[in-house]
Amino acid sequence: MKNGYFGHYGGQFVGETLMPAILELDSTFKKLKHDREFNKNLNSLLSKYVGRPTPVTFCPNLSTKFGCKIYLKREDLAHTGAHKINNALGQALLAKAMGKTRIIAETGAGQHGVATATACAKLGLDCQIFMGVVDMERQKPNVFRMKLLGADVIPVRSGTQTLKDAINETLRDWSASTATTHYLIGSALGPHPYPEIVAHFQAVIGREARFQILKETKRLPNAVVACVGGGSNAIGIFRAFLKDSDVRLIGVEAGGLGIKSGKHAARFADPELGKPGILHGSLTYVLQDQNGQIYNTHSISAGLDYSAVGPEHSYLREIGRAEYYYVTDKECLKAFHLLSEMEGIIPALESSHALAYSFKLARNLDKNDILLINLSGRGDKDIFEVARYSGDKL
């Protein structure tokens, strides 16, 4: 396999200015990923600071309702409220090892921004977070959290003012600042080695979950389900199950207002707009028009509202190892309320996509079949947005 490719997806499509920094990151990561001291440090942070391992929780009420056994991997219980912290701490440690003093990052839902700001506060790094103004509005609580954590939040007003544009702006900053600065990408996307680095640091989710579910149920799940924005929580839980060929791996994209409406972020589900293309450093499925201009996405959930998908997912889909489906904004909201009311867990709107698809899938399963859903984050950040949709005043 060519360096940095998953099949023929991936690569390093960035300007010459960024290449030296990307090569430096690659060699640092190769050196440290199996380094005993580095891992001791990271694991200590993960257990004593993040609160890992996060539990796997059985959902008795939903299981009865849908007629199969439903389990959640509780990344919502990780410090800062989502899986993003696993990667943020890992990369922040890499940055320190490279002698960088400043971290920049993009954020959509704000969870990655909060996780990065947290890692920087803990490890003594300067932190600037780029965020589209549309996302700043719909994820207000997270904007304030980042500020409380000592980070600067830089509003991005270009393009659609969402995640894609925040990434553009972060890349622009980085092309002038690589000497002092590490770009801490928040999902399994971008130029090689980022997709590999992010998957490596998120793989702890699947390692724990596989062990936990085996311990509790004495068998492997029938399917593992995760939402897919850039694809970090999904790849994080998938990786441990890749060789378990009987376990279906299912990624759920944001169907927005439906595929036909064109207002969605379903790179795989829309055969007209979703085609292999090159965006933000990698060759992967990208929503684009016939000329190759990047298509503007829509999703109720800021964390899934992105035109491209991590290259490893394009590969896993192509070889048939993982399947990808979508749910709409409406179905997502319904699942959001259902989990809150029936199991007492308020999920992130991103994670609610995984739930919504799982509930559809469950109807075709047997009562002893097991569904493992990655609950990538908690929904506190989303309450204003959900209230807006339901017409409630907060």
């Binding site: 390093q12 300007g15 010459e16 200015t17 622009r172 002038a176 090159i278 990047i294």
Partner: protein, 271 residues
Amino acid sequence: MNYAELFHNLKRKNEIALIPFTVIGDPNYQTSLKIVKNAIHAGADILELGFPFSDPTADGPTIQAADQRALQSGITTDQCFEFLREVRSYSMIPIGLLIYANLVYRYGIEEFYAKLSDISVNSVLVADVPIEEATPFIKAARNSAIDTVFLVSPLTTNERLTQILAQARGFIYLISRLGVTGVRNDVQDLTIKLIKQIKRKTQLPIAVGFGISNPEQVETLARTEVDGVIVGSAIVKIIEENIDRPENINTEIGSFIASLKNATRGSCKIS
């Protein structure tokens, strides 16, 4: 005319090449075409033309806005080709393209270069294709007899420089400073050092770009071993500032380009 001939002729006249950059279709097809023709008359030696892209990550705010204006006017890849054809039928001036990878990839890499070859475009620089990913682009370019231009930045290591020089054709695009495109006011000592470093390793002409915005900078560079200067944001800014008075665009760009061209002349080299 090809690059080798052009740079050779200029050298004999003791001039360096003035290479204005504009985005095709900014602010719309017809105005953009007039701007390009006007630039040729005002003294451009080479045209550097950009295909507008929705997500130009190597560009600063000025050129981002130009891309947006062009796309808003509804321009397509095929119309960009048509534009190039019209420029080509108007003048034999060398044309270099600056483009982002997805536009080429989506069109089909081989097909894209073949099309450019029909129009006699001289070179292509793909902003987000470093040497590591360049193989299919270089192959297509060679099949179509088009030069592949590469960027060299102040951070490019010696090892990378050697790799780049082995593949580069036409000229080297030296980024005068880190960051994205945009207007700056001076010429860094670093740039002058880099020019010398690259010259020691190659016969290829060097054009300096990113941040060149006034005749003083051009004069400074003309006194070095550099072979050309690329001026982008400073020209595009004139379009932006006169968007409501399109009749001013060409007079202003014309006199700006003439003043830059003047600064490329009669330089006495220092080394």
